[in-house]
């Protein structure tokens, strides 16, 4: 099985700790991935808001590049990229007119596409293919009952995604438990983090993220885990603003699930990007 990897823009900039920790964890578990050569932005929600044809076209290019590279499956760690790729594949396979148009456009750029490649999120790969046992076996530094709130957010698990439950997803919880942690049950695990509204409508964004963090905290969580660069960014980087706005100290480590895996696997801080966090994530690794 050849896995090709679609990092998306965030994993190369503000979410680079996700890429670092993901690749380190993959290495530890002997999963080899190859980055898609010359990939482009998936368009996130913005391309769909402005032009559907372009949104599908540019995402289809990534699918075509992945197939050209001989990939059997695409690994897409960003929830928005993952959803965008799935959505594009759904469109082309269910609507012959769209498919024909997309193929015509791709041909102009010397690419062709079968649209058969499977799109997978790392959570799906780790839990359902690599398996919980392999993860347990790699643990050298068990997390001894650390209380974890697993935050899945929105696009990762609904409505096209098929690997986890829409209402009460479990994949991240299974991983956290395999690392020796305890997981808390909370209804807001699938609540939207407001996406880019933290920039455009800062007061609304702050309110939505405040509710999520506060609820996790009041249920005793010591750390919030995420599986999407935008969720992670929103929940981590605006804690100062949120604390000021709601006059409540909301300090909480928010990290990628792969960073916590890395800590339990005994991987060095730098390889997990822990030194690049704004929240006090490092303390957890001590």
């Amino acid at each position: 099985m050849k896995y090709v990897y679609f990092p998306g823009c965030s994993l190369k900039s503000s979410g680079m700790q996700y890429e670092k920790s993901l690749l380190s964890v993959f290495k530890k578990l002997n999963v080899t991935v190859e980055e898609i050569e010359d990939w482009n932005c998936c368009g996130a929600t913005n391309y769909m808001s402005i032009n559907e044809t372009y949104a599908i076209g540019i995402t289809a290019r990534n699918l075509a590049l992945a197939e050209k590279q001989g990939g059997d499956e695409i690994i897409a760690p960003c929830a928005a990229c993952y959803m965008g790729l799935l959505k594009t594949q759904n469109y082309v396979s269910s609507d012959p007119e769209i498919r024909q148009n997309v193929c015509k456009e791709l041909t102009k750029t010397g690419l062709s596409c079968q649209f058969k490649i499977k799109i997978r999120h790392p959570l799906d790969l780790l839990v359902n293919i690599i398996g919980i046992d392999a993860i347990k076996n790699a643990v050298t530094n068990p997390l001894k009952g650390l209380k974890v709130a697993n935050y899945y957010g929105c696009q990762l698990i609904r409505p096209i995604s098929t690997f986890d439950d829409v209402y009460n997803p479990q994949t991240m919880d299974k991983i956290a438990k395999a690392l020796g942690a305890q997981t808390i049950d909370w209804p807001l695990k699938t609540r939207c983090c407001s996406g880019s509204m933290t920039s455009t409508m800062p007061d609304i964004g702050a309110r939505m993220n405040f509710e999520i963090l506060k609820d996790a905290k009041s249920r005793g969580a010591e750390v919030v885990l995420t599986a999407c660069p935008l969720c992670q960014f929103n929940l981590e980087c605006f804690q100062g603003k949120i604390s000021r706005q709601f006059r409540e100290n909301i300090k909480m480590p928010v990290m990628y699930f792969t960073q916590l895996m890395g800590i339990a696997f005994g991987i060095k801080e730098k390889e997990l990007g822990l030194h690049q966090m704004l929240s006090p994530a490092l303390e957890l690794s001590l």
Partner: protein
């Protein structure tokens, strides 16, 4: 109590004669949103109840569906509501009639952009357009240049409130001022019907 009820009934909705409605609007939106089921809406309100943004919206998702179906074209397209939708798909998951409400919201945003009747100087469409153009230009997003071009169009002074966060991220190596664009921009631009 009475005046309250009246307020609720008329808030934002001018009295409109049936002849002024755009009768084909619903069909058009259903077509571009791949959502012919739209006409099966039973107005149960599950979508609005599930939507985490509906408390800030003028028209909730349920109302939007009703208005689209009835042909309140201009009211829907020029409203801030559709831009408050964060595409979280919660409504879509909850709708008992299988209506793809999120896709309807997307279709409405596109219609508003095409017809140039989105609310002016409202930050969400400004960011969407800045994002759109950034990708067109370089093929990938660089967060620093994206935010610059967004604040440039929206309100350059607002950027100051983010400068501390920006600086922190920069010092942590998480924000780059260099573009890491793609190589084959020529082919990429063809997909956007643009000359390279």
């Amino acid at each position: 109590m009475k005046s309250n009820t009246n307020d609720l009934l008329t808030r934002g909705l001018e009295i409109k004669l049936e002849a002024d409605l755009d009768k084909d609007f619903g069909k058009k939106i259903a077509k571009i949103a791949h959502g012919e089921k739209l006409f099966g809406c039973i107005q149960c309100g599950n979508c609005s109840a599930a939507c985490p943004l509906s408390v800030w919206m003028d028209y909730t998702p349920r109302k939007i569906i009703a208005m689209v179906r009835a042909g309140f074209r201009d009211e829907v397209l020029s409203n801030r509501t559709i831009w408050l939708c964060a595409s979280c798909y919660q409504c879509t998951v909850e709708c008992p009639k299988g209506i793809k409400i999120t896709d309807v919201m997307y279709a409405l945003k596109r219609e508003a952009i095409v017809n140039k009747i989105y609310p002016k100087n409202f930050p969400v469409p400004i960011l969407a357009k800045a994002f759109f153009n950034e990708v067109k230009r370089t093929g990938r997003i660089n967060e620093a240049t994206l935010l610059l071009s967004y604040y440039w169009r929206y309100n350059i002074f607002k950027m100051l409130s983010y400068s501390t966060l920006g600086l922190k991220l920069f010092l942590k190596g998480r924000l780059s001022i260099f573009e890491r664009g793609m190589k084959n921009k020529r082919d990429f631009k063809k997909l956007l019907h643009e000359e390279a």
